[in-house]
């Protein structure tokens, strides 16, 4: 029996909606009254186009694809956070999403108070939480801290509590989105064990992950999507092969060629990395300054978009820099071109190859990406053995305390 039915689902986001003020909205509102309800198609960004799939009871479906392919939109549609523009979605049974752990936690409330709050948000009744409370706290390993305001929790503790609540909802359908990327290894194993337990009890799951290992360990079938459309639906191994041989390397081959800017309100048209002297290079000494230079072109007026630049190794984001975090809000005129640079004072990475993801989002919270380029550029870093192992250069020294000293 199909637990999830996704039939010819399309989802468009309207680009200019809710950008802020009445001054712009009044003419728009007027236009609607007069009958131009559906603004021109150029105003729409299609996150999904005619996507169909079903998930059978007890099955675990993996959802993979490059950034901006529509994975998160699919999950949001399944959890009813957003509605499809067209098509039909049916989910039979209680659904819970391991999407945003601890969303709705209030920093001033204690762990206990937040468990109750978060539990009811996830659809548990007070009585159910009463019954499961001790189990939740034990799972999160927060017995001693449960009556402390969560603002004094470490981020690990925060996530543990969020996860503990979410998995104790005991749904028929579970959505998992990349949440396992957080927390320490031991806790992560515990989470995977819990998820596997769901599977053994015949529950249905949809898993989004960039981790090949996670997809392999959990999924019966995999749906590969790109640009909001299904590319492949079937065997896990085959889907992963397709994805890794096809997409990842294709993105890397396209270095320098950033594709068409058509239909993008603002786009990145050039990426390069510079060394301390401002010379283009792809090879750096650990700890030296480095600069990422982006060229952009705005096709139309764009208000306060967010530029981002991420450094990745494999699928792990090691660092993410955004204009929003830097508090920069700038409006771009139609036709404006320019250069923006991210200057890294010290590239504190260790020996190895790293990839760069760059892009422009509508704003900090928006799912809408005006432009995105994954693995647009690969660079290498050289370091000495004594500088350490791993990814990050943490200047350090060893000291033995002398006896009696």
């Amino acid at each position: 029996m199909a637990v999830i039915e996704f039939e010819h689902v399309s989802k468009a986001y309207r680009r200019h909606w809710g950008r802020g003020s009445l001054r712009e909205a009044l003419p728009q509102l007027f236009g609607q009254v007069v009958g131009r309800r559906h603004a021109d198609d150029a105003d729409l960004l299609w996150a999904l186009r005619d996507l169909s799939f079903t998930v059978e009871e007890g099955e675990t479906l993996g959802l993979i694809g490059p950034n901006g392919a529509g994975k998160t939109t699919t999950l949001k549609l399944l959890s009813r956070v957003t509605r499809p523009t067209s098509g039909r979605i049916a989910v039979h049974g209680r659904l819970s999403a391991l999407i945003e752990l601890g969303a709705g936690f209030h920093p001033d409330l204690t762990g206990r108070e937040n468990v109750y709050l978060n539990g009811t948000i996830m659809g548990l009744s007070r009585r159910e939480i009463d019954r499961k409370f001790d189990e939740i706290v034990a799972f999160a390993e927060l017995e001693e801290f449960i009556d402390m305001p969560v603002k004094r929790y470490s981020s690990g503790m925060f996530v543990r509590l969020g996860f503990a609540v979410a998995v104790h909802v005991d749904p028929d359908v579970l959505l998992v989105d990349e949440v396992l990327a957080v927390g320490d290894y031991r806790f992560r194993d515990k989470c995977i064990e819990k998820i596997n337990d769901f599977r053994r009890r015949g529950k249905t799951m949809v898993v989004v992950s960039h981790s090949k290992e996670m997809i392999q360990r959990l999924c019966n079938r995999v749906l590969l999507i790109n640009h909001g459309q299904a590319v492949f639906l079937g065997e896990t191994r085959r889907a992963l092969e397709l994805y890794h041989s096809g997409f990842v390397s294709e993105e890397l081959r396209k270095r320098g060629d950033l594709g068409s800017t058509e239909g993008k309100p603002i786009a990145i048209v050039g990426v390069e990395m510079l060394d301390a002297e401002g010379k283009p290079t792809r090879s750096f000494r650990s700890g030296e300054p480095a600069t990422v230079r982006l060229r952009y072109r705005a096709q139309e007026r764009v208000e306060a978009p967010m530029f981002y630049c991420r450094v990745r190794r494999g699928y792990q984001v090691l660092h993410s820099a955004t204009t929003a975090r830097a508090g920069i809000e700038r409006t771009f005129r139609a036709g404006e071109e320019g250069v923006v640079e991210v200057r890294y004072e010290a590239l504190n990475l260790l020996e190895g190859e790293y990839n760069l993801n760059v892009g422009i989002a509508r704003d900090q919270f928006s799912p809408i990406l005006y432009d995105s380029h994954d693995d647009v550029l690969r660079f290498e870093v050289h370091s000495f053995l004594q500088e350490g192992g791993g990814f990050v250069r943490l200047p350090h020294a060893w000291h033995f305390a002398e006896e009696g000293g």
Binding site: Y13, R14, W17, G18, G20, S21, L22, A25, K76, S79, R80, V81, T82, R83, A97, I99, E100, A103, G104, H106, D108, L109, E113, Y116, L117, T120, I121, M122, G123, L124, S125, R126, F365
Partner: protein, 260 residues
Amino acid sequence: MINHLRELWRYRELLWSWTGREIKVRYKQSLLGAAWAIVQPLGTALIFTVVFARFIHVPTDGIPYPIFSYAALLPWTFFATSVSLATDSLVRNMNLVTKIYFPREILPFASVLAGLLDFAIAAVVFVGMAIYYRVAFSWSVALVPLLLLIQVVLTLGVVLLASALNVFYRDVRFIIPLGLQLWMYLTPIIYPLSLVPERYRTLYLLNPMAGLIESYRRIIVQGEMPVLAQIAPAALVSFLLFLLAYAYFKQAEQVFADII
């Protein structure tokens, strides 16, 4: 509409716990805590008394001015605070709205319900004042819950509209304080209804708060039964507004997560 209410009922536990959260958060961070619920209407009543009873001598149908104004400020403060807090409730909790599904009206509704506690605390002070001024309560006081019900329905209608519009147009946040101020002057709080010229009165009473405030005073302070011509339009307008606002809200709700 029935379906919406049924779904809201299924999520009632969330409404209670979110209301609890609103209350806890409101009092946890502030030094005076619950005392603020009293300070605000009491302080305003004091100022009004000095200005409008000592300086300007506003007639009050024979009621001592402090009790005259506090009896009106009590429900008004509940209304105004609820509206200003609830308007922002969806935008303030955007991380929740974009991540998890639940009936969105829970957020503005919880702000209003949380305001009921403030109202109850401030009402205790009123009882003290009433004893001091030797107000003779009569059986008409038993009608307070009815008035309160109408007022809550009105408030819910207003916050449904305001919070949804605030998602689309952030200007709403700035319009609300101004609107509330104007609204206060169009409501018999500082002055009695009898001061409003007879020929404007029908129009004036289309403002549901006008009929409500005047009726609160009648049944509590003056010990008389409410006048149907005052309370009926208020009830009618309140329920109509609520229905329309709810229908609009549920329509608009479908795109909240895409826009916030």
